[in-house]
């Protein structure tokens, strides 16, 4: 890893996701957050950023328009409709955008699967799908590799009620749609279904996602190996990721459950759902940074098994 200049990232959206991204960016050795932009200074994220000495703005995307050199890469942590507007501008400016909304405009990216091709493709818009998507798609993909065809993939995620704010609640449909669409793309399954459940239990539960696959007669041993290997790759950028129920055959379907415990950077540990999408986004940015400052081709970290 060469110690080149850090990649300049701007974050638009100063809610919980944006603020957590900020903390992660500040901790990264290859990223520097040069702009934290939102719509109003009274948000707690803004106050935190200000306290940390980060350059803040309440002008939203206009802050980048006014000073294009402020950043190389933009994290968009606003909303799908807002992102659509931002992308129109940022595309013109040739900025690379890592989109954390379910806008589905860019290349859907799961770092453990396709970080490299997303970064290489140069399309400029890398979409991080959804939290449930980041948790489940790599596993579903690993299962899909075992077999020619998957008939049906189902992903059911439970997140702590306390980790779901107004934006999450208002956009459950978008979450389901984006997750299903990415599931189909990555697994080429004939049908996909995504379910989201808000669990009000106290103390708040960690994010848990169960993947069900209908896929002919899978070899359970092979499935367990594949899933374990994929989990290792994910753990490189999501330390709190764990397979808690390895692939098990029940009534002809493969069922496996993963749990994501958050890092507790800006949000409580139970908000693993928000943590995983941020970890994935930062991983992509770090790959961009590594490539920008290296003369040789940098591969995405593969984890222990190096598969």
């Amino acid at each position: 890893m060469s110690a080149g200049p850090k990649l300049k990232v701007a974050i638009i959206g100063t809610g919980n996701i944006g603020t957590d991204l900020l903390i992660k960016s500040m901790r990264s050795s290859s990223l520097v957050c040069t702009l934290f932009a939102g719509r109003n200074f009274s948000s707690s994220g803004m106050k935190k950023a200000n306290y940390l000495g980060v350059n803040i703005s309440d002008r939203g995307i206009d802050a980048i328009i006014e000073d294009p050199s402020v950043c190389d890469v933009v994290f968009d942590a606003t909303s799908a409709p807002a992102h659509a507007r931002h992308w129109e501008v940022l595309r013109e400016m040739r900025k690379t955008v890592i989109d954390l909304t379910p806008a589905k405009l860019g290349e859907p990216c799961v770092p453990a699967i396709n970080a490299e091709s997303c970064v290489e493709s140069g399309g400029g818009n890398i979409n991080m799908i959804t939290c449930g998507g980041q948790a489940s798609i790599p596993i579903a993909y690993a299962l899909a590799q075992l077999q020619q065809e998957i008939e049906y993939i189902e992903v059911a995620s439970s997140i702590a009620s306390r980790s779901a704010g107004p934006a999450t609640r208002f956009n459950i449909d978008e979450y389901v749609d984006a997750t299903e669409s990415a599931l189909l793309k990555f697994t080429r399954a004939r049908y996909a279904k995504a379910i989201l459940i808000l669990n009000p239990a106290h103390p708040p539960i960690d994010m848990q996602t169960t993947i069900y696959a209908k896929m002919g007669t899978p070899d359970v041993t092979e499935a367990r190996k594949a899933v374990a290997a994929m989990a290792e790759r994910i753990k490189v950028y999501v330390p709190g990721y764990e397979v808690i129920v390895p692939p098990t055959l029940e009534a002809g379907r493969l069922i496996t459950t993963v749990r994501v415990r958050g890092n507790g950077d800006h949000l409580p540990q139970y908000a693993g759902n928000l943590d995983i999408i941020n970890c994935a986004a930062v991983a992509v940015a770090e790959l961009i940074a590594a490539r920008a400052s290296s003369s040789t081709v940098v591969r995405f970290p593969r984890g222990k098994s190096n598969a």
Partner: protein
């Protein structure tokens, strides 16, 4: 005479009892019979509602589309209703289809503290000109004031009535009186009640609800429904008749409908099992039953003690890991004795 609207979820809640395997002909025959009995709203579908057919909660034997088609054909006077939970059903995939297929009544449900997940769906359905109600499930898990707060949210989104469900069958009549009164005093749209019979109180609770001001009551044929079953429709019609509460439902014809249901698609009449009693007593989600029994067997503890402890800890669906914790604690407790 006070007027109560009956909503009949025989073909929806009852689907839970047969693991969502009701067949097209069952929908057809019961819809016809309920229609003939002037049941105001006939609710159909997978037990967890529109778009819920899944490996998570069970796959439906018939698609939503097929169910709605056959139900729509067989209902002329009665309104066709469905239940739906955001997170399972989406506007694009599920609601728009249901709207275009002529569903009349939509009951948008959430856990009793998560009403704000329903805003989009209620809004979409009201825009489409449909009749929309909000539903609060597992309502015993929130205190009356919280239920009022959540019901007010539903009202603000456009719900034309709010129904609270006693999903675990945990209420006694006084609990119902307290909650329904609070709701009736706190919102301006009609209030409804959906009973479960775990403690043998479904009928009494439904009467208490009406006395406290509820004007929508759910009841299904023979009580056909999840767990210990719902309020038995024919029974509450008879009871309401005696009490002078107008429902518009024809008593003899609803008795006939229940006979048909029993004959055609109720393999086992609802009864109150030991597990139902214990889960109802402790207000625990009935879906835990299989796992509690499995884990209790593995660890040599009494499943009924697990339920008691889960109830104390206010366990909610999705906390299956808690069952193991509780079982381990009970094991340790036993060893210390």
């Amino acid at each position: 005479m006070p007027r109560v609207t009956i909503s009949d979820p025989t073909l929806r809640d009852g689907n839970h009892a047969v693991r969502h395997q009701l067949k097209k002909e069952h929908f057809a025959v019961y819809c016809k019979a309920a229609d003939a009995a002037n049941v105001p709203i006939v609710e159909v579908g997978h037990g967890n509602g529109l778009g819920a057919s899944s490996m998570l909660v069970g796959e439906c034997g018939v698609t939503d589309r097929e169910i709605l088609e056959v139900a729509r054909t067989n209902l002329t006077h009665s309104k066709l209703g469905i239940h739906l939970i955001p997170g399972f059903a989406t506007v694009k995939k599920d609601l728009s289809q249901a709207v275009s297929m002529g569903v009349d009544v939509f009951r948008v449900a959430s856990h009793c503290t998560e009403a704000d997940t329903t805003e989009r769906h209620i809004g979409y359905l009201r825009e489409a000109g449909k009749e929309v109600y909000g539903v609060l499930m597992m309502s015993h898990m929130a205190d009356p004031q919280t239920l009022v707060d959540e019901a007010r949210k539903l009202e603000s989104y456009g719900a034309e009535g709010v129904v609270i469900m006693d999903s675990a069958g945990a209420y006694l009549p006084n609990d119902v009186t307290e909650r329904i009164s609070a709701l009736v005093g706190g919102i301006t749209v009609p209030v409804g009640f959906h009973a479960h019979n775990n403690l043998g109180m479904a009928t009494a609770n439904s009467v208490a609800a009406v006395n406290a001001g509820a004007s929508i009551i759910d009841g299904s044929a023979r009580g056909f429904g999840a767990g210990a079953g719902n309020a038995q429709l024919e029974v509450i019609i008879a009871v309401f008749q005696r009490l002078g509460i107008e429902t518009g439902v024809d008593l003899y014809k609803i008795l006939d409908a229940a006979d048909i249901a029993e004959r055609d698609f109720i393999p086992l009449l609802p009864s109150i099992s030991s597990v139902s009693i214990v889960s109802g007593l402790h207000g625990v989600f009935s879906g835990f039953i299989k796992q509690v029994q499995k884990i209790a067997a593995e660890r040599g503890v009494d499943p009924r003690d697990i339920f008691a402890e889960l109830g104390k800890r206010k366990a909610v669906a999705g906390q299956e890991s808690l069952i193991i914790e509780v079982a381990i604690d009970l094991q340790k407790g036993k060893k210390l004795q």
